[in-house]
């Protein structure tokens, strides 16, 4: 059971040079390989800041982040970039597809950044992933010629192309309607199930958060709740816990 993929030790973050504004206060976190973790908390509580640090996009002010045995503090910027490319997948609220490329090419981009050319087996994988998110018929469309929900699904396929150990999703359904939200969330769950990919997903959607393996709640830069929902599922409706945990 103890298979820690991601670990933080007293991680803090403050912004600003002269006027320091602390955002994270001593985060200590261990995430197991294959876990599907949701992160909630009110706006400004530091969710995105923490996620960016876990994703090696930002460096903590103090403390350490260790992912898959690698202490991120020991890596140079270029090494961090390569680490992100190999180990981490990102899904953001906006899809950030490259409109100059086709849907299939967008899925391949994280691979192409370092390899330049995709061999047939990688192309086949990209097509598999597109099939998985139900967009195989759109593969040759320009990335900006498909709907917003479809674009977000392409972004999901893209995040998976390099077999990342962990996927960080910052409000991945934030821009989607409830039907698409459900669809995208089901996809993430099935990926988590099939590939044992670890997920950390920030969301404001309480129902989604409640359907994850584990729930973290942030408040003013601290983790104030850490619930194992597999052992102790939240009652789905009208529960006593939910109002306090989910605001």
């Amino acid at each position: 059971m103890d298979n820690v993929l991601l670990k933080t030790i007293n991680t803090t973050k403050e912004f600003g040079q002269e006027i320091k504004s602390p955002v994270l206060f001593g985060i200590n976190l261990e995430i197991q390989a294959g876990e599907f973790v949701s992160m909630i908390g009110s706006s400004g509580s530091g969710k995105s800041t923490l996620l960016n640090i876990l994703g090696a996009l930002d460096r903590p002010t103090t403390g350490e982040v260790i992912i898959d045995g690698t202490n991120l503090g020991h890596l140079s910027d270029d090494q961090l970039a390569y680490f992100r490319n190999r180990t981490i997948g990102f899904i953001f609220q906006s899809h950030f597809l490259l409109p100059q490329f086709t849907v299939l090419e967008n899925v391949l981009i994280p691979y192409l950044i370092y390899a330049g050319k995709a061999p047939t087996e990688i192309k086949a994988r990209a097509l598999d992933l597109l099939d998985r998110v139900g967009l195989i018929h759109r593969k040759d469309n320009r990335a900006n010629a498909i709907s917003g929900g479809e674009q977000q699904r392409v972004a999901i396929a893209r995040s998976l192309i390099n077999h990342p150990r962990i996927i960080l999703a910052d409000e991945p359904t934030g821009n989607l309607d409830s039907k698409n939200t459900q669809k995208v969330f089901e996809m993430l769950k099935s990926i988590n199930r099939d590939y044992q990919t670890t997920f950390i997903m920030v969301t404001h959607d309480h129902a989604l958060a409640a359907s994850c393996d584990r729930l973290l709640k942030l408040k003013d830069g601290l983790i104030i709740e850490d619930l194992d929902l597999l052992k102790q599922p939240l009652p789905k409706e009208e529960d006593r816990c939910a109002p306090s945990i989910l605001e």
């Binding site: 995105s48 996009l57 270029d78 970039a81 906006s94 950030f96 490259l98 100059q100 950044i113 390899a115």
Partner: protein
């Protein structure tokens, strides 16, 4: 693990392709700039080559005289152009005695294409009421043709004077009212007038020569001037006119008893004029390049802003800073390449049209070096101007982009 250059190229290509109109406009802008540079350079270089050819084509490039001989003025008196402004008498010039050895030595120099021993003197010609001062020039006609091409410039009479006959310039002939076959009287200082026959009349295309030259055989001139088997100067032409100053200097040090003067020294004013003409063309080129730099820099700066979201996500996905910078530098190089190649074609086209319209008096000259300089400087400008926007966009922090959606 290294970044893929192939990916950087495809990124650059897609970015340029996305704004086809913008790309086309900036390429067109560079092309016009390059075309202007090509055209101007061809025009100015052509004019200058023409002018230099006119000045030194049928004139000695280097004149060798005895060092001890008279004043500067006396030395200058042997030069084809300036001679006529300075009236010097034969006495001022010390003849060169052992000129055969000197000629052989100079001939051995591969850079020299003609050596002409010359006997010069001045005298007066009378015919009826008319008196004209002339420059007596004695040289071997065959050898003189290598410099002056007199044989092919004879417009009346014989090409070669036989004994006691001479060739004169066409303006002198008109002044004196003589034609081929007429006699003239030559007076040399301290000698009795001598009757000579005008055997032919030439036109060397330079009025100073056509007015003053009296050409005869070298030995005859030497005899008339009483200098025996000696000459007053050697006139040289070199293979590359622009090296004559350097060659003259090299020979000067080997021949301490002689004085060598190159055409550059005699035509210093002309050269100054040509230089200032060239520098005005450099000024134009500088501003054209400045326009290229500003054009490419602004297009790439706009491009960088437009693409900041995509750059942000690429960086999140692990592209390295240098890789992004290179993708933008490549855009600059490609713009420069397309612009300078099409501009070069356009420039050639313009010059061809210009020749057609202007008639054949104009020669246009495009030296390979000028082409290399124009294309090279354009490419360099485009690349350098891409550098700043490339650097800026590559430093972009992905978090900023992601946070601002």
């Amino acid at each position: 693990m290294k970044n893929s250059l192939a990916f950087e190229f495809s990124l650059a290509r897609r970015f340029l392709e996305e704004n086809k109109l913008q790309t086309l406009l900036i390429v067109l802008g560079i092309a016009i700039g390059v075309a202007v540079m090509v055209f101007l350079t061809a025009l100015i270089d052509g004019l200058q080559a023409d002018l230099i050819q006119k000045t030194v084509g049928k004139a000695p490039h280097i004149v060798v005289t005895s060092a001890e001989a008279g004043s500067q003025e006396a030395v200058k008196s042997v030069d084809g152009h300036k001679v006529l402004m300075i009236d010097t008498t034969q006495k001022d010039q010390r003849p060169i005695g052992e000129y055969h050895t000197l000629v052989n030595a100079i001939w051995a120099d591969q850079r020299i294409r003609a050596v002409l021993p010359v006997v010069d003197g001045s005298g007066l010609i009378r015919r009826g009421q008319v008196t004209r001062g002339v420059l007596l020039r004695g040289f071997d006609l065959d050898q003189a043709d290598r410099i002056y091409d007199i044989s092919n410039s004879v417009i009346e009479g014989n090409r070669k004077p036989i004994n006691n006959s001479v060739l004169i310039g066409k303006d002198l002939a008109v002044d004196l009212g003589v034609s081929a076959g007429d006699p003239i009287l030559l007076e040399l200082p301290g000698q009795d007038p001598l009757a000579l026959m005008v055997d032919g009349i030439f036109d060397l295309g330079v009025s100073a020569i056509n007015q003053r030259w009296l050409v005869m055989d070298q030995r005859q001139a030497a005899a008339l001037l009483g200098i025996g088997d000696q000459v007053t100067s050697l006139e040289l032409q070199v293979q590359d006119v622009f090296l004559s100053e350097q060659i003259a200097r090299a020979w000067s040090s080997k021949l301490p008893n002689y004085q060598l003067e190159s055409w550059q020294e005699t035509n210093a004013q002309l050269l100054t004029a040509l230089k200032s003409q060239s520098s005005s063309s450099y000024t134009i080129q500088f501003f054209v390049l400045l326009a290229v730099i500003l054009g490419v820099a602004s297009v790439l700066a706009i491009n960088a802003v437009q693409k900041s979201k995509q750059i942000g996500i690429l960086k999140a996905m692990g592209i390295r800073t240098n890789s992004v910078a290179r993708a933008f530098m490549i855009q600059g190089v490609v713009l420069g390449l397309m612009g300078s190649i099409s501009g070069f074609g356009l420039g050639i086209f313009l010059t061809k049209i210009f020749i057609l319209l202007a008639g054949q008096q104009l020669t246009l000259l495009l030296k390979p070096l000028s082409v290399v300089v124009i294309l090279g400087s354009t490419m360099l400008s485009a690349t350098l101007s891409a550098y700043l926007p490339a650097r800026r966009v590559s430093q972009l922090n992905p978090i900023e982009v992601i946070r601002n959606g």
